[in-house]
């Protein structure tokens, strides 16, 4: 199931050295390693908290993904950071 893959992506990002850097540098290449639906892939790229939860990702993992990508806890639902977007353009 793609939800397992989505969850595994987050746990790999957290637990495996280098994955977070790869995700931020080449998000499409990292996401291609996981059998995700188009909606899941886009929600990860958008770091879209509500969409990730609506797609079934556990809230704890959603938070981990966002926080590791520079989203502060209070801004989880309001930020405008996206993967693959230069910091000065976000």
């Amino acid at each position: 199931m793609s939800l397992v893959q989505l969850s595994r992506l987050v746990r790999d990002v957290e637990h495996n050295d280098g994955v977070i850097a790869d995700l931020q540098a080449e998000p499409a290449a990292v996401l291609a390693r996981y059998r995700l639906t188009d909606d899941e892939r886009q929600a990860v790229l958008d770091l879209d908290a509500q969409r990730l939860i609506d797609l079934g990702l556990n809230a704890l993992l959603m938070r981990t993904l966002l926080v590791l990508n520079g989203v502060g806890n209070p801004e989880i639902y309001t930020h405008s950071i996206r993967l693959g977007t230069p910091a000065d353009a976000s």
Binding site: H15, L60, M62
Partner: protein, 272 residues
């Protein structure tokens, strides 16, 4: 025959270790309670501490997510997720194995983890209560990946654990510590809210030994009133049932907005 010599419950948020003085008006209250809990637990001279907690999607994933699981390792590394401090804890694999067998034979079909890194749900109370030198047995209850075991099932786990402790093949002293709760919303838009009235009501039920009233709560009610983090009260229910369900003493409560959770600290009566 082994005996249960101590039982208690405490919240486990990482702020306890990272920012202990985050709300100075509550520092002395909480510090005194945890110091007393630590002293009382150690004075009971336990040979092993069973820590009933949960996992925040660090150890277990959707590939195979247990409802209940018991650690049976000789040591338990700390995840140190998000930089949360924590050291490797010493296990008691023979005691774990005996408890596992007794629990399964007692009607609780739980999984076993012979490798079980621990997250802050375990490592924070270990550090705050200075339990580093004591062997532990981590007991996991699924508190965040629905469907969750019912509160009634958590109570039955606790009752079976009480019997399992008494069946341990040696004259061991055993302590039980629950970790989790109270009201808090984790990674949800309401994050930061605390329901002091709900926390007070829950703590009163625990200290009155009213497990019947607690187990009548539905997850929907808990989610609505106290947030997804309050679903961790399963650990408290199991510990209270293990202690005999006769009540206890509230050592402290503080609505710790700086830690985004209500903090409760309770010692449970151990019924003989």
């Amino acid at each position: 025959m082994a005996q249960l010599v101590y039982a208690g419950a405490t919240s486990h948020v990482s702020g306890i270790i990272r920012t202990p003085d985050a709300s100075p008006q509550y520092t002395d209250l909480l510090d005194s309670a945890w110091k007393r809990m630590s002293a009382d637990l150690k004075a009971a001279e336990p040979d092993v501490v069973i820590i009933i907690g949960t996992d925040h999607q660090e150890t277990y994933g959707l590939e195979n997510y247990p409802v209940f699981a018991i650690g049976q390792a000789d040591e338990y590394p700390a995840w140190n997720e998000h930089g949360i401090p924590g050291e490797t804890s010493t296990g008691a694999p023979e005691i774990s194995g005996a408890l596992h067998e007794a629990l399964v034979h007692g009607g609780i079909d739980l999984s076993v983890s012979m490798e079980m890194p621990l997250d802050h749900g375990y490592t924070v109370p270990i550090q705050r209560l200075e339990l580093e030198g004591l062997p532990i047995v981590p007991l996991f209850i699924n508190c965040n990946q629905p469907p969750l075991p019912t509160l009634t099932r958590a109570r039955k786990l606790g009752e079976a654990l009480r019997n399992a402790i008494h069946q341990l093949p040696e004259d061991l002293n055993v302590a039980v510590l629950a970790t989790g709760g109270l009201s808090h919303w984790v990674a949800l838009p309401q994050q930061g809210e605390i329901n002091e009235e709900w926390d007070d009501r829950f703590l009163t039920l625990v200290t009155n030994g009213d497990l019947d009233a607690i187990t009548r709560m539905t997850d929907g009610q808990i989610l609505e009133e106290a947030g997804n983090g309050a679903l961790e009260i399963r650990t408290w229910v199991a510990a209270a049932a293990c202690a005999g369900g006769t009540g206890g003493e509230r050592l402290a409560y503080a609505p710790m907005h700086s830690w985004v959770t209500g903090i409760g600290i309770v010692e449970l009566e151990v019924a003989r």
